[in-house]
Symmetry: C2
Subunit: 190 residues, 2 copies
């Protein structure tokens, strides 16, 4: 079997796995789009939890995302705050109920299925490269993790609770911040 056939079958497998996940998602009181939003809010840093960034991340539109977030808010999984830095903007954060809901994320079941193959690391690395290729092809943004960004300045205030710094937004960053997805992320190499 040629490598292109291997790859094609892998793509089909991804398709089917995802469909099973979506089937699991239909079961609860959240739809797939709402799950994706909830996951994003859990993984994004506080500068990125806005409707506009979420729309970019999901490849959706702002109007659509606005309703998705309104629905999550109504169900009590997230809370809205007016942005302190931009009067037009709002920011969202998970509530305790939201955190709890994520513990039943259907994606966790898939993660377990992958872990059981004992090849989780290889799969993750390959898929990460594949996503990189795919994002490049689509001309989209990478949405990388904060600490891998060119604006990230590590250990500016060692020992403090927010030891790092973002040179772009001029903000202090905790360890948790630096592990989160950031919408402003720019790759390091020029």
């Amino acid at each position: 079997m040629s490598s292109s056939q291997q790859a094609l079958e892998a793509a089909h497998l991804i398709d089917r796995l995802e469909r099973l996940v979506r089937a699991g998602e239909q079961a609860g009181d959240l739809n797939p789009a709402q799950w994706e939003a909830l996951r994003f809010l859990a993984r994004a840093n506080r500068f990125s939890r806005t409707p506009a960034f979420l729309a970019d991340y999901l490849g959706s539109t702002r109007g659509t995302v606005s309703r998705t977030l309104a629905s999550l808010e109504e169900k009590g999984y997230i809370v809205r705050t007016d942005s302190a830095r931009d009067g037009r903007s709002v920011e969202f954060a998970l509530t305790a109920a939201g955190e709890k809901a994520l513990k039943t994320d259907p994606l966790l079941a898939l993660a377990q299925d992958i872990e059981r193959t004992t090849m989780a690391k290889a799969v993750r690395e390959a898929l990460r490269k594949a996503l990189h290729n795919a994002v490049q092809r689509n001309g989209g943004r990478a949405f990388g993790v904060c600490r891998t960004c060119r604006h990230f300045e590590a250990q500016v205030s060692p020992g403090s609770r927010a030891p790092h710094r973002c040179g772009l937004l001029d903000e202090r960053l905790s360890q948790a911040d630096s592990d989160s997805i950031c919408a402003e992320h720019e790759a390091t190499a020029a």
Copy 2:
């Protein structure tokens, strides 16, 4: 990073890759459900290309699938035939236009992204195991490839154009048949 974290991140990557594929699917004149149906018809053997099996495969309902197929038929990508073996049932097959459309399948782009990681084989094997786990968990059918089924009898008539045989349906099978997905598939081991 623990293996469960690796696996979780792999699951997230699958989620994002699939979303990019879906975004690509929105572009053409087929929607995601129609693409999935078209792919299934291309990969399923002639005993399995019915609305009922497709609904099972997609984890959807017959009513929904009925419309999806009607739409594909109207667009000229597939043709409908009354089943010879069951007067209630219909069977579908790709037209030349359908074959041609599949050449622009957005999933092919994903396959190329995976191939470029040079880890296609490892990914495929891991995902195949993961899918097996996932299907087991959901209690669903595996929909395996014909020649791996317990009813498959190889080389019953060597040299003929349909050398193999299905012991369940009592049908002669060509090489192409034996490489296709079958809705009646049952695993070999008891």
